[in-house]
């Protein structure tokens, strides 16, 4: 077979998923219809939902193979991890010194990890089941890296396994104080810590009020929302979550968080676990004396089987990946997949992610004004960096100050409530229409200015022409490379077209094009770098770049 024929066959296999037709006895089943052709713009839309930023190369690949096959491929790729990266570094004097390396490996995986979809979903999960460097985990970088890897490992797994792994992870244990939580001691007026019990239910699984399958709030006969639980249920779960502490700890409370303890699931100390009866959701009661492990399993089952989980997780993942304001139908379709993946399995997150990304509403042919979402600052940054091969002289991306200048960074939320609320609605038309725009909560005047200024420096100064002798440029300064754009910058139209293709899938508004052209008219044609920087700067700070269609 000639090479061209091989390639054609491979392409056909990838496209149609057909067998190679080696001539067995039976008639091969008819191949499924080939996927509909994908436009360049649609490929960009999809990749901005499913990765850390569309690139021309990936868009070409996607168009060749189709969305379903791309998702299949992604879900089969080996996982990019954070923890081995930290463990390979020389041990620091103080643990906190590794936090820049943790940010570094997050950016490396986000920018260069082949498993883009897994990493993007892990990032979404890290904004739902939040732990943060800011607080008690500031000197536990191994715990944070291991926690992130845990989210990534379960990104396409089962939600029930995910919440168990999250519950027993020492990062979560320390962050929401289940670690070292002891049974009641009435003589000392001590009762179980309610922190994890409360946030697990409110933020990670079911929320405060009962939902319909389409995500709308269920109302009682008086048109009031129906609470999912009350204080007695929180106390029931708080009693469940007693008795767990660091693996291999010499004491139940106050053990030093060694590297091993930071990354090893918590262990049960039975003598600190409450043995009484425990009230759970929907009137379920755990019998006394069955032990901490059985209590934990039953309690997580109790949450997992609550009918809210499907719509609750559907809304949050749709908001992180696709749109801030999904229709009830979209939520219901995804929630139905959570409830049953088609094979009778509840909680299949891989199926949920696929349902979210392949739903007709994910990329409507004629978007209306509430479709899509604002891109988070980190995603705007990674899209730019991926598009222009951003790299530092050291090869590192140690941006652990991200939360200060972008309002967010990897596992750097100010609290368990994430950088922004799923319910945030800025004043004006969005709030007046009872819509939400979560990412706008951190698009404040201050942070927008910070971001705009960062982009000014990134484009005009921190680029491929930066002089390493400049004391402002360190070996860790991340530089973008737009030499190719600078080379064709004498032709203003060609330059604008190319940047618009790279960053906006070719869809640039007339205003933005005209304003860039106006600025380029003021810059001499031989100033290629300046002209290209100007063009990229005005695009990446524009409202249309901030918008994920």
């Amino acid at each position: 077979m000639k090479r061209a024929q091989v390639l054609a066959c491979l392409a056909l296999v990838a496209l149609a998923g057909c067998s190679s037709g080696s001539g067995g006895g039976k008639e091969p089943p008819p191949p499924p219809p080939p996927p509909p052709p994908i436009s360049q713009a649609e490929a960009y839309r999809f990749l901005n939902q499913a990765s850390f930023g569309a690139t021309e190369a990936e868009a070409e690949r996607l168009r060749a193979m189709g969305i379903e096959a791309w998702i299949d491929e992604q879900m089969g790729l080996p996982m990019s991890r954070q923890l081995p990266h930290l463990q390979a570094l020389p041990p620091p004097t103080f643990m906190f010194e590794l936090q820049p390396d943790r940010a570094d490996i997050w950016f490396r995986n986000a920018l260069h990890g082949p498993d883009q979809l897994r990493q993007r979903v892990a990032f979404a999960l890290s904004e739902i089941m939040v732990v943060s460097e800011l607080g008690v985990l500031s000197d536990q970088p191994f715990a944070l890296a291991s926690y992130y890897d845990t989210l990534a490992a379960h990104a396409f797994g089962n939600y029930r396994d995910l919440i168990e792994a999250v519950t027993l992870h020492p990062a979560m244990g320390a962050y929401l104080s289940m670690l070292g939580n002891e049974k009641p001691d009435p003589a000392r007026n001590i009762r179980p810590d309610e922190n994890y019990a409360r946030e697990l239910m409110q933020l990670f699984s079911i929320g405060l009020v009962e939902l319909n399958p389409d995500g709308s709030v269920r109302l009682d006969a008086n048109d009031e929302p129906v609470p999912t639980y009350d204080q007695a249920v929180i106390e029931g779960f708080a009693h469940v979550f007693t008795g767990w502490t660091y693996a291999g700890a010499p004491v139940f409370q106050g053990a030093f968080p060694s590297e091993f303890r930071q990354i090893t699931p918590m262990e049960l100390w039975p003598e600190f676990h409450d043995t009484g009866e425990k009230l759970l959701l929907r009137g379920v009661t755990l019998p006394p004396g069955q032990g901490g492990a059985a209590d934990l399993a039953a309690a997580l089952d109790n949450i997992f089987n609550h009918p809210n989980v499907g719509p609750f997780i559907a809304i949050r993942l749709i908001q992180r990946l696709v749109t801030s304001n999904p229709s009830p139908g979209y939520v219901a379709r995804v929630a139905a997949v959570f409830d049953d993946n088609g094979s009778g399995v509840r909680g299949d997150l891989g199926a949920v992610v696929r349902a979210i990304l392949t739903d007709a509403e994910a990329r409507p042919a004629n978007p209306i004004e509430i479709d899509g979402k604002l891109k988070e600052p980190l995603l705007r940054l990674t899209q730019l960096w991926r598009a222009y091969d951003a790299v530092s002289a050291s090869g590192r991306y140690p941006y652990n100050f991200a939360y200060i200048i972008f309002g967010q960074g990897p596992l750097q939320s100010p609290s368990v409530f994430n950088f922004f609320s799923p319910f945030y609605a800025p004043p004006g038309e969005i709030r007046d229409s009872s819509l939400v725009a979560p990412e706008l909560e951190i698009a404040t005047e201050y942070l927008n200015t910070f971001f705009t200024n960062y982009m000014f420096i990134q484009t005009f100064a921190w680029n491929h022409t930066a002089d390493p002798a400049n004391p402002e440029i360190t070996e860790d300064t991340v530089l973008i490379d737009f030499a190719a754009e600078a080379a064709l910058a004498a032709d203003a139209d060609a330059l604008i077209d190319r940047v618009a293709d790279t960053l906006l899938a070719g869809r640039i508004s007339t205003t933005l094009r005209n304003e860039i052209a106006g600025m380029l008219a003021l810059v001499p044609a031989d100033q290629g770098v300046l002209r290209a920087a100007e063009t990229i700067y005005l695009v990446v700070t524009s409202p249309e770049f901030a918008y994920q269609r």
Partner: protein
């Protein structure tokens, strides 16, 4: 009798009627303000409210503690390993006594000095309520309760919005700004300014809060409004036109609106702060840290009030770390010292500026914390104590009713979660009235005020 020096006893506390309150306030500037706000005329003076939000739920029953043996004994029995030692409490001497001696957390010496000098007061066991609530009413649910009690974000939202069971999406400072928007139409900055990000407190229907950083706004690099600035001027013009272009999605429009406000304010407000710093009128040195930095900036914004044409301002600043589920004994002294020292420095700065009477600082927090311990910390509760500081505070007093800190006592709904005996609506309305909101509009600011006998707690002169 002056309302402002009203004693703390329950008996006296309940004695005041709204009629008496109305009569008293007819003699205050409140009435004049009523006419003014209605007319939309500019205010004749300057006033500022500074909200210091303590995120996470300040354990304020360790901030203000009974010292008398009997009451201290009850406190110590409830708090066990989290109790502050009786001898470590800093004694205070309120002008009116409810028969119990009180002291402050040992790390709050600066607050004690403010208190003893008459420039600080506490409002005790205050929290979100829809109507006065007894323990029986709580358990048989015969009065409406704020939804999702003991949940962080919901109770923060209650304090910031006072929305009760309504779906209102505006904050009480936002409603204040809306009410006075015609009076302050010439201000060059929004009435509401935040140094700690977006917040519901300042969310409004008609006005938009301006969010700056802890050190003030940032200027836009490479964009200049000066026609002589060459490319930077052209770039600013281009940037402006891009921001102002019409957009097809609500997200682009929302983003563009923020950029618009940011560009409009950045240079002007930055310059005003820089000028104020250069003038050196604020000589007080602030403690290092998040809160001190924010309050330092607020002091300089106040110093720049004339340059910006400001008459009424509400500032939102905040500190985090108060969610003391763990390590409370280790963490609380530093947290409270920071609050105390930062607020005291801010008060001193307003004295530097000769404007202490026109600036009132107050704390809010998610909730008080359980009197009981979870081993090394506390969990989410309800009522708590708040600090009010300023030259116009009727200070050296405790307002409201300090509860008996008893597990299973009259105010405890379980685990040492105390039902507030004073509502956040009353707290807010008292501040709003001083700020210039007329009597009739206080119910807009504090929607449940009518459910409480006292429309004014009397802690503002």
């Amino acid at each position: 009798m002056s309302m402002s020096k009203r004693p703390l006893t329950r008996r006296d506390f309940l004695k005041a009627t709204s009629a008496a309150a109305t009569a008293t306030f007819a003699a205050t500037p409140g009435l004049a303000y009523a006419q003014m706000v209605g007319s939309g005329a500019p205010f004749p003076d300057y006033r500022a409210l500074v909200c210091v939000f303590l995120y996470g739920g300040n354990d304020s029953f360790n901030m203000l503690v009974p010292r008398s043996d009997a009451e201290y004994g009850v406190y110590a029995a409830s708090r066990q390993n989290l109790a502050i030692a009786q001898d470590d409490l800093l004694p205070i001497s309120p002008l009116t006594s409810d028969g119990v001696d009180y002291g402050l957390h040992f790390s709050m010496g600066a607050t004690r000095s403010l208190f003893e000098a008459g420039n600080a007061a506490f409002v005790t066991n205050v929290g979100p309520l829809i109507a006065p609530t007894t323990k029986d009413q709580f358990f048989n649910q015969s009065v409406p309760l704020p939804p999702q009690l003991f949940s962080h974000n919901d109770q923060q939202d209650q304090w910031l919005t006072l929305r009760g069971r309504s779906q209102s999406k505006t904050g009480w400072a936002g409603r204040i700004a809306d009410l006075i928007r015609l009076n302050v139409a010439d201000q060059q900055m929004a009435t509401n300014a935040s140094l700690f990000g977006s917040n519901l407190f300042q969310a409004a229907d008609e006005t938009i809060a301006y969010v700056m950083g802890p050190g003030g706004p940032l200027r836009f690099e490479g964009l200049s409004g000066d026609p002589g600035a060459g490319l930077a001027y052209a770039q600013r013009q281009a940037f402006d036109r891009i921001v102002d272009a019409g957009y097809g999605s609500i997200y682009e429009r929302g983003f563009a609106a923020v950029q618009r406000r940011a560009i409009d304010a950045a240079d002007r407000v930055s310059a005003a702060i820089e000028n104020a710093r250069a003038a050196g009128a604020v000589t007080t040195v602030f403690p290092p840290g998040q809160l001190g930095t924010q309050l330092d900036t607020v002091a300089h914004l106040i110093a720049a009030r004339d340059e910006l044409g400001m008459q009424r301002q509400v500032f939102f600043v905040a500190a985090g770390g108060f969610d003391s589920h763990d390590n409370q004994n280790e963490d609380q002294p530093g947290l409270l010292a920071n609050v105390s020292d930062s607020i005291a420095a801010f008060f001193a700065a307003t004295v530097d500026l000769g404007i202490a009477d026109a600036v009132t600082t107050f704390t809010q927090s998610d909730f008080g914390r359980t009197l009981t311990s979870n081993g090394d910390g506390t969990d989410h509760a309800w009522g708590g104590n708040q600090l009010v500081v300023g030259g116009s505070v009727a200070g050296r007093e405790l307002y409201g009713s300090y509860p008996l800190l008893e597990i299973g006592g009259a105010d405890d709904v379980g685990g040492g979660r105390l039902i507030p005996t004073t509502s956040a609506d009353q707290f807010a309305a008292t501040l709003a009235r001083w700020f210039g909101i007329p009597e009739a509009d206080l119910d807009t600011v504090a929607p449940h005020l009518a459910n409480f006998t006292e429309r004014d707690l009397g802690f503002m002169v």
